[in-house]
């Protein structure tokens, strides 16, 4: 009789340990996935920061009277660059400001046919469009990853493991969609 009780107790402990281990491992996997996804966003944001001086230089040659728009872009870029590493929320805000400034610039460019025919500018524009896309796709992937990770930290039984080992979940990369959508409508034609 005694042996049976001991056996059952040991069995329960082993099963609990296995459940704990599996939950711990999947929490670690999900956390790494969000980290990895965030790194992807970072790469693309940095790429955009690097592209902007080049773009501003190219546009300057053709569109001399758009100094204000150009300065706004440069300024937004510098702000976004200094926001790097200051938390997801701050960075998201700075980056969406930059997106707004950039789309205003690209709208202005419409008035300069010469500029639009420039090979260098076209290549830059393709790069910029694609970088914008990559930013939103990596944000999409990051948010999916955060959702999965947060679900895991909040749902039973993994929430117990999560609170035991300090898995706190991640923060979504939100942008004010309204601001981003509105911007391209600004047109001077």
């Amino acid at each position: 009789m005694q042996w049976i009780i001991i056996g059952v107790v040991v069995g329960v402990i082993v099963i609990l340990a296995i459940i704990l281990g599996m939950n711990y491992n999947s929490l670690v996997r999900l956390r790494n996935q969000t980290k990895n996804a965030w790194a992807q966003i970072d790469v693309q944001l940095k790429r955009r920061h690097d592209l902007i001086p080049n773009l501003v230089e190219t546009v300057k040659g053709y569109a001399k009277y758009e100094r204000e728009t150009l300065e706004a872009v440069t300024q937004a870029r510098n702000l976004a660059q200094s926001a790097v590493g200051k938390g997801v929320g701050t960075q998201a805000k700075a980056e969406s400001d930059l997106s707004g400034a950039l789309s205003r610039l690209l709208a202005v460019v419409e008035n300069y046919p010469d500029l639009k025919a420039n090979q260098n500018f076209l290549a830059l524009q393709e790069e910029l469009t694609s970088t914008e896309n990559k930013i939103s796709f990596s944000r999409q992937y990051y948010n999916d990853a955060v959702l999965g990770y947060n679900n895991k930290t909040q749902m039973f039984p993994s929430n117990i493991v999560a609170s035991m080992f300090g898995f706190r979940g991640g923060e979504f990369f939100e942008v004010e969609v309204a601001a981003e959508r509105e911007a391209p409508k600004v047109s001077f034609s």
């Binding site: 419409e110 694609s130 896309n133 796709f137 999409q140 992937y141 999916d144 999965g148 959508r181």
Partner: protein, 407 residues
């Protein structure tokens, strides 16, 4: 996303095991029929299967790419295509950037290949690059990358190897039965004492020889069609823009040009079945791809929601079937995701520009040098030409050529 892959794997394993059982049964039957030893037949079947697997595993993708005359491109060759693939790589969460190939062919098609996500490639035809705009191309690439992400390439390779082995064995055995009494004579001698039992086994084996290739083919088609729907659904999910893929499919289906080089075994990897007969809708059971009009209608009736669950609902509506196409476990967990709005892209080259751009890429990939003459003509200099300058055939000016490597 990860649950999707897992539940796919379980379903696929069941189907692959079913095909494997067919192969084993067939091998056993043939063994009994021809050599009087079922185990011998089993061993032969397994050896043939093993060899075909080895070939497919190491060579599959490469053969496909080299047969179709695909050329690998770098980012500089076609920045837009490269960027689109990179965008979809990010959206799908693939870890490695797939290699990109262009096939010089006016037909509109694309395929993915590679045994796992770390050895993956996508190929598109030059016709596709000319005819599709950015959103459409993005949809096609998303469809192809989800084949990679869902490991469809590996699954379909395993399936087609099994199918190939079954067809090969059945063909071979039937020839031996008809023409060679050498095997038949021996088996009749050895199983002479068995009476009815031996006769029944013989009949079963012959029936199996006829039925197994057909059954295997039907399983294969069923798996393939399912994968197409799933790739369409993931494509919509990755791009958040089902209309892109829908309109690409529309353009592709309207084109009547047929792909010159396509490999039957790899048909499931193309975005559209390269073997469809001129304009006819494929019959349902015997096609690797679902009818394209149905795929388009499903994508278009997804409304503003691009989640896998929404695709599932649209699928049920359009095909009027109660059986879904996407694993239930995935649908349950998915939340509603809004589609992105169509936005006009200013930078987008129109069709004429795309045609020129594509042909330039093809010239460059064939090692031609392009020089622009002052009179506006563009000179394409073949790699065999060794001079440092060339005379323009239009105006007679002498143009100097950039230094280049000679073969």
């Amino acid at each position: 996303m990860w649950e999707q892959i897992r539940s796919n794997q379980i379903r696929s394993i069941v189907l692959v095991v079913a095909m494997g059982l067919f192969l084993l049964l067939l091998g056993y039957g043939i063994g009994v029929l021809l050599f009087g030893s079922g185990v011998g037949g089993l061993i032969i079947a397994l050896v043939v299967w093993f060899i075909m697997n080895l070939v497919a595993y190491f060579q599959g993708g490469n053969i496909m790419l080299s047969v179709s005359g695909a050329r690998k491109i770098a980012k500089d060759d076609h920045p837009r295509l490269y960027n689109i693939v990179e965008e979809m790589k990010i959206a799908s969460g693939l870890e490695r950037m797939p290699d990109i190939y262009i096939i010089e062919d006016p037909a509109l098609n694309a395929f993915a290949t590679g045994r796992d996500p770390n050895h993956a490639s996508v190929a598109v035809t030059s016709g596709l690059l000319q005819k599709l705009n950015r959103d459409e191309l993005q949809g096609v690439i998303a469809h192809e990358l989800s084949h990679i992400k869902n490991r469809d390439v590996l699954l379909m390779t395993i399936c087609s190897v099994l199918l190939g082995t079954i067809v090969l064995l059945a063909w071979f055995a039937s020839r031996m039965l008809i023409f060679g009494s050498l095997g038949g004579g021996r088996s009749r001698g050895s199983s002479g004492g068995g009476g009815y039992a031996a006769l029944i086994i013989m009949i079963v084996a012959i029936v199996l020889m006829i039925v197994a290739p057909i059954a295997a083919q039907l399983i294969y088609f069923a798996v393939s069609r399912r994968r197409e729907y799933l790739a369409d659904a993931s494509g919509a999910l990755y791009t958040r823009y089902p209309e892109g893929l829908a309109s690409a499919l529309e353009k592709i289906s309207n084109s009547t040009v047929e792909l010159k080089t396509a490999n039957q075994a790899y048909a499931p990897m193309y975005i559209l079945n390269p073997f469809r007969r001129g304009g006819k809708p494929a019959t349902d059971l015997t096609s690797t791809h679902p009818p394209i009009s149905e795929r388009i209608r499903i994508l278009r009736s997804m409304g503003g929601n691009v989640s896998l669950a929404s695709y599932e609902t649209a699928y049920r509506q359009v095909s009027r079937s109660s059986k879904g196409v996407i694993p239930a476990s995935v649908v349950a967990g998915a939340s509603s995701l809004t589609a992105r709005q169509a936005e006009p892209v200013e930078a987008e080259p129109d069709r004429t520009e795309r045609t020129r751009e594509t042909s330039d890429v093809m010239w460059k990939l064939s090692n031609y040098v392009t020089a622009k003459c002052e009179c506006g003509a563009r000179l394409k200099v073949p790699p065999q030409y060794r001079g440092d300058s060339i005379k323009c055939p239009h105006c007679g000016r002498i143009n100097s050529l950039p230094p280049r490597k000679h073969q």
